[in-house]
């Protein structure tokens, strides 16, 4: 099979079987490409196929949220009005992290101490991928309830789509405190870290760190790790379970991009990385493509349209108007060509399994009708 065949083959496969069969569907891609929209449309498709479905959205646009009946950021599934079998919820990042701490802490006092720690409070914004990790953590919760046949999750806009895959390891590595564990013995007064550490021959490390961050930061940090002591193994175990769920063949990753080079490049990296990690790739959605010429105009090539426009220009008002239309048609064909080329280049030599192009709609996507339209394209209906 040549890559060209692969692309054509992928183009013919839609996401229908994914939507009808997979248990977990993750929508990912770079910022603003349509992850939330795709997640909602996919969930709608699963619900319409009679599966008990929930979509876990992250920071949806206000009007989309309203259409889904979401008004508050509270981690509570709510039934979507007008669609049977469909629940939706908005991820509360902070709340989810707190739940994780509550779950793993041996007693409420310790949990409270961690949650009050200044370092903890900024951890989710400081450690790349923590937000992604919380989304998958919540997903695992929903999975455990057994209430849903299909769980669709959205991912936050990230610098790097790979953060989603790297997050569990990064987080557990950090919490494990590779360097720190050696230095910060439990019960050690925070103020004395530097001295004690020096005794371990680690003075330079702590000295450098405290020069950069100031002592206050290190004290917060020390307190955080002291409180976290003993929770680490459970935490790591849980992260591994989450990762395994994502890796299982009942899960599916849908990568979303726009037909522009930067978004497609990101998508390509991600597809490659999914393959490397043995993750179940389901397909690439290229969203917001310039709609192809409608039937009846597909036989009019750009060059001929431009020539005709040139011939008509300068004539009657009608002729000038039609010349403008012909030019518009030719321009759109040009963009379509650019987009096709971008897509083919991004997929050169890799098989995305399915490839769906979703046209740019006439307006923003915010109600159930709009979502239904996108859903139908995704499923190939």
């Amino acid at each position: 099979m040549t890559p060209r065949d692969g692309l054509a083959g992928a183009r013919q496969r839609r996401l229908a079987d994914v939507v009808e069969q997979r248990h977990v569907i993750v929508c990912t891609g770079s910022g603003g490409v349509g992850k939330t929209t795709s997640a909602a449309a996919i969930a709608l498709g699963a619900a319409r196929a009679g599966r008990r479905t929930i979509v876990l959205t992250i920071d949806p646009a206000k009007r989309l949220a309203q259409s889904l009946g979401l008004t508050s950021l509270d981690n509570t599934p709510r039934a979507v009005k007008g669609v049977e079998n469909l629940d939706a919820m908005m991820l509360d990042m902070k709340g989810t992290f707190d739940e994780v701490i509550d779950r793993h802490a041996s007693d409420p006092r310790r949990a409270a101490r961690i949650k009050a720690n200044r370092f903890y409070q900024q951890l989710s914004s400081s450690l790349a991928g923590t937000q992604e990790y919380m989304a998958t953590e919540k997903l695992y919760d929903l999975h455990n309830t057994g209430r849903y046949d299909c769980i669709v999750i959205d991912t936050p806009p990230t610098r790097n789509a790979l953060d989603l895959l790297d997050a569990p390891k990064r987080l557990t590595d950090f919490l494990e405190g590779r360097f720190l564990r050696m230095f910060l013995a439990p019960g050690l007064a925070a103020g004395r870290i530097a001295t004690r550490a020096a005794g371990f021959g680690a003075g330079l490390f702590m000295k450098t760190a405290s020069r950069l961050t100031g002592q206050a930061v290190l004290s917060d940090l020390a307190e955080f790790f002291q409180s976290f002591e003993g929770m680490y193994d459970e935490f790591k175990q849980r992260a591994q379970q989450v990762y395994r769920l994502l890796q299982s063949p009942t899960s599916a990753f849908v990568v979303v991009a726009t037909p522009e080079v930067p978004a497609l490049r990101e998508a390509r990296y991600f597809l490659q990385r999914l393959a490397q990690d043995g993750m179940p790739t389901a397909g690439l959605v290229v969203n917001r493509v310039t709609p192809p010429p409608p039937d009846g105009l597909d036989g009019l090539p750009a060059k001929q349209a431009r020539q005709a426009a040139g011939a008509l220009l300068g004539g009657s008002a009608d002729e000038n108007a039609v010349a403008a239309l012909l030019d518009l048609h030719a321009d759109r064909l040009g963009v379509t060509k650019r987009e096709r080329k971008n897509i083919a280049a991004a997929l050169h030599g890799i098989d995305p399994r399915a490839l769906v192009e979703v046209p740019l709609m006439d307006s923003d996507v915010h109600d159930l009708d709009d979502l239904t339209a996108i859903c139908e394209v995704l499923l190939g209906a």
Partner: protein, 322 residues
């Protein structure tokens, strides 16, 4: 703030929602500035090599390169910025003892993430302050392709947050001088890039408010990918009077044959175009009512490729608005 003063600050920070064209706009502004004779430096902070790809140059790194006459390129990262800064602060010899421990640096920047951003902007500040032997500034203008709106507030607030946390030492000094640069309206302007679509417009309005609170001065809003009208009043009226048969008759004069379906489709393209223009007009109205900042509009380019030529074209549009 007037459009003609667009390129007058010493540092222009370009931000906007993901994918709206921040890098495109940053590159176009930089090209335009170089075109006006300003010695200009275009800076990327996320190490994505966006510009070296767009301009087909060698990979960019921590040392500036002149890739167009009068236009330099620089890619800054936190590690190199830190090393350079400490070298200045402590001198090279003591430095080697301090920073060979790079895991300490990594650790510190995770513990207090703002530090990384302070270091990045710190490097930009060094470039901005740099003087030639004759006492003049080395660069007239620095254009920064900054993180997207979702992260920009934390990025620009990092120096402030850091001075709260860290009360002594080199990082604190660095943070303070960075704040001085960012908050000086003569030195720094933030340009928001947006599209004439609902979400980006909403996000722009929200970000403008948040950036106001940070205290930075906003420059013009750069509206990217603007569709220009294809009809004037006369042809628009003519278009509205066209039906399938008339359309077929007109195209036949230019030797094009269209089926009924084809003629209908051609007319629909016109309707869609007018619909888009209406949406644009509505969004433009919302933007100017809510923000009271001048708008710099850049056209949507229909070319089959998007590369250096397209950037040059957009730079011309920028220059014309000066």
């Amino acid at each position: 703030m007037e459009l003609e003063n667009l390129l007058d600050p010493r540092l222009i920070i370009v931000t906007g929602k993901g994918g709206v064209g921040k890098s495109t706009v940053a590159a176009s502004l930089a090209l335009a500035a170089a075109g006006t004779g300003r010695r200009t430096c275009l800076v990327e902070v996320e190490g994505r090599q966006t510009f070296s790809r767009l301009f087909s140059t060698q990979t960019w790194d921590f040392s500036e390169r002149e890739f167009r006459p009068g236009l330099w390129g620089l890619s800054v990262d936190a590690d190199a910025s830190l090393r350079e800064y400490l070298e200045m602060f402590y001198g090279a010899r003591r430095l080697s003892r301090i920073v060979t421990n790079s895991s300490a640096v990594e650790f510190a920047t995770t513990a207090a993430p703002g530090i990384k951003d302070v270091l990045l902007i710190g490097k930009v500040k060094e470039v901005e302050r740099r003087r030639d032997p004759d006492g003049r500034f080395h660069y007239d203008l620095i254009v920064l392709d900054a993180p997207p709106t979702g992260r920009i507030v934390n990025f620009l607030r990092a120096p402030d947050a850091t001075t709260e946390l860290v009360n002594i030492g080199p990082i604190r000094d660095q943070a303070q001088s960075v704040i001085d640069m960012l908050l000086d309206p003569q030195r720094t302007n933030v340009h928001l890039v947006t599209l004439l679509e609902e979400m980006p417009v909403q996000e722009t309005i929200d970000s403008a408010r948040a950036l106001d609170e940070v205290g930075v001065t906003l420059g013009p809003v750069v509206v990217n990918r603007v569709l220009s009208p294809r009809f004037d009043d006369t042809t628009r009226k003519a278009f509205e009077g066209l039906d399938v048969a008339a359309t077929q008759r007109v195209v036949a004069k230019a030797d094009v044959e269209l089926t009924d379906q084809g003629a209908e489709a051609l007319l629909r393209i016109g309707t869609l175009h007018l619909h888009r223009l209406e949406l644009q007009e509505r969004m433009r109205g919302i933007l100017s009512r809510r923000l009271r900042l001048p708008l710099l509009e850049l056209p949507y380019l229909w070319d089959e490729h998007f590369g250096a030529d397209e950037l040059a074209h957009l730079a011309e549009v920028v220059e014309e608005s000066l």
